[in-house]
């Protein structure tokens, strides 16, 4: 089944990485990704832009309201995610551990996916 591995970390800390360090971490993560992809298990992965770029559509009113944010000052922010095919939690945790070895600090939330819908084409975030 599919597991979402949601990456949480302190944005301030990640933002303080030197470009060289950032590159090194990304290279190590790429190796883990390639490994998962090689086994045909990586469905999708993404690194998100900083939360400062985010807006929120509040649906608690009609019409829904688009606002800046999220403002909630949580300590760690959602910075990226992976969708990995795993037989059980043990396998998902093993995949997360491999990612963690490549990029320590922060935490991974491991969430089984209830249902997923694949579109025919996946587009990159090319501006």
């Amino acid at each position: 089944m599919l597991y979402a591995i949601l990456c949480y970390h302190m944005e301030d800390v990640v933002g303080a990485w030197s470009p060289a360090h950032d590159e090194a971490v990304m290279a190590r993560l790429a190796a883990v990704r390639d490994d998962l992809a090689g086994q045909g298990r990586l469905s999708l992965s993404a690194r998100l832009l900083p939360t400062t770029t985010a807006v929120t559509l509040r649906k608690d009113r009609e019409p829904p309201l688009l606002v800046d944010g999220p403002f909630a000052e949580t300590k760690e922010q959602l910075l990226g995610f992976y969708l990995v095919d795993c037989t059980d939690l043990a396998e998902a945790a093993a995949a997360a551990r491999e990612l963690a070895a490549a990029n320590p600090g922060g935490c991974y939330e491991i969430r089984p996916v209830a249902t997923s819908w694949k579109s025919s084409a996946v587009h990159g975030a090319r501006p």
């Binding site: 302190m10 301030d12 800390v13 990640v14 933002g15 303080a16 990485w17 470009p19 360090h21 971490v25 832009l49 900083p50 400062t52 770029t53 807006v55 688009l66 800046d68 944010g69 403002f71 000052e73 300590k75 990029n103 320590p104 600090g105 975030a125 090319r126 501006p127």
Partner: protein, 428 residues
């Protein structure tokens, strides 16, 4: 990540908040800085064994505050230093205090603290270069050596510059009371201008200097993102951050292998940093929803039009002309008009642009880019003699080897074509 890397990133990211809180507590820049240094030293000693504290910033503030108080006592009456055991006990008691402080850190207070910390670096008596040096030292925590390298001066000269700047700040009245909304807005504007100065110190450098100065762009972006988190609904802060991201994204394409300037329209857009452009575009989109345009947003919107054009010929020059006209209204300046003239030349031709910049001559006679553009426009019109004259004036005013070399290329080409033509005539 090895221990030192983790600790490094944690200390760097905690610095503005921790320094800001310590400045409010001690009301003195030097004491705050010493206290913070001391806290960092203790972190380097204790974190590798015990692991990172749950909230590094709160830990550093508490340890720094205690150490600063101790230092004060030591100075006033030679009391014995607390032993390491006392420190360990103190650290054990930190956990609860850390939690309480961490909660308060999220409040509005610390926003004013950080703004104050940045604001004291912008003391109006300080020349721009000293403001920048002070901010890099105090807020970003760059070492004097790193700053000296970025400014291409000796370490002792930079040390002196920073010491003088600090003395000036210490003499002035640092405003410690909470600012009114108007004061807060004014401080924010001053601080934003300083951040953009830091960026431009890094961005405007060419040639061999460019590489040494790149960290300044990186720091300015970090400061701007920090401001954005403090003021998440300020469209001008979004605009400033977007502007710097969109400009900095082009850095890898702005120079060729020989260090020569590559103009925007000749740049290999594949070298532009796609993630930075995406972030910049997202921010300017977000800012424009507020419908409160300001100079940073307009400049970012112009940079965004370049960022969105896949090829130089796809650039929406009419819209850029329109945006520069808006910028002229907001911040009238001959330099803005000169920039607009580039867009005008694309929309209405080189003659229209020349007509537009002619009245600027008096005020921009000593400005490199004025003569550079005048030369380029005359060149497009086939007026080689006028172009040559303008390029010679530009070269005399060039701000660095890269600028001079760029103009030299034009002159060499004119020279070669002139000789070719003369040759053709004599053959004929």
């Amino acid at each position: 990540m090895s221990d030192p890397d983790w600790i490094d990133a944690a200390l760097v990211s905690a610095r503005p908040r921790a320094m800001a809180a310590l400045l409010r507590y001690f009301r003195d820049l030097d004491t705050a800085e010493e206290a913070y240094q001391d806290a960092c030293l203790r972190a380097l000693k204790s974190w590798p064994d015990k692991g990172p504290p749950r909230d590094p910033t709160a830990w550093l503030i508490l340890v720094g505050r205690n150490s600063g108080v101790d230092a004060g006592r030591r100075r006033s009456r030679q009391t014995a230093l607390p032993s390491d055991e006392v420190l360990t006990d103190l650290a054990a008691g930190l956990d609860d205090a850390e939690t309480a402080l961490a909660e308060r850190l999220d409040g509005a207070d610390y926003r004013d603290d950080i703004l104050r910390l940045l604001f004291v670096c912008c003391h109006p008596d300080l020349p721009a270069t000293q403001q920048i040096a002070l901010a890099l030292r105090i807020v970003s925590g760059l070492s004097v050596r790193q700053i000296a390298r970025a400014f291409l001066v000796g370490e002792s000269a930079m040390e002196q510059r920073i010491t003088r700047a600090k003395a000036r700040v210490a003499k002035g009245d640092t405003p410690f009371e909470a600012p009114s909304p108007t004061e807060r807005a004014e401080r924010l504007l001053t601080v934003m201008a300083m951040v953009y100065l830091v960026f431009n110190e890094g961005y405007s450098a060419g040639g061999v200097e460019a590489y040494a100065r790149r960290p300044l762009c990186h720091e300015a972006l970090r400061l701007s993102r920090l401001l954005l988190r403090l003021f998440p609904a300020e469209p001008e802060v979004m605009g400033l951050t977007a502007l710097m991201l969109l400009q900095h994204a082009r850095t890898p394409a702005r120079q060729d292998a020989d260090g020569l300037i590559v103009l925007l329209e000749d740049q290999d857009r594949g070298l532009w940093d796609a993630a930075m452009i995406a972030e910049g575009l997202a921010l300017i989109d977000k800012a424009m929803r507020h419908r409160q345009p300001g100079p940073y947003q307009v400049q970012a919107a112009i940079a965004a039009l370049h960022g969105r054009a896949e090829r130089a010929e796809d650039t929406d020059w009419a819209q850029i002309d329109h945006l520069y006209a808006a910028l002229e209204r907001m911040t009238p300046s001959p330099v803005v008009s000169l920039n607009r003239a580039v867009a005008v030349s694309k929309v209405a031709g080189p003659q229209a642009a020349l007509d537009m910049i002619a009245p600027l001559e008096e005020r921009l006679a000593g400005y490199f880019h004025f003569h550079g553009l005048r030369g380029a426009l005359n060149l497009q019109l086939g007026r080689d003699e006028a172009a040559r004259e303008a390029f010679h004036q530009a070269i005399a005013l060039a701000g660095g080897a890269a600028e001079a070399a760029h103009i030299r290329q034009h002159l060499d080409r004119l020279q070669a074509e002139g000789e070719k033509n003369r040759g053709a005539v004599s053959e004929g």
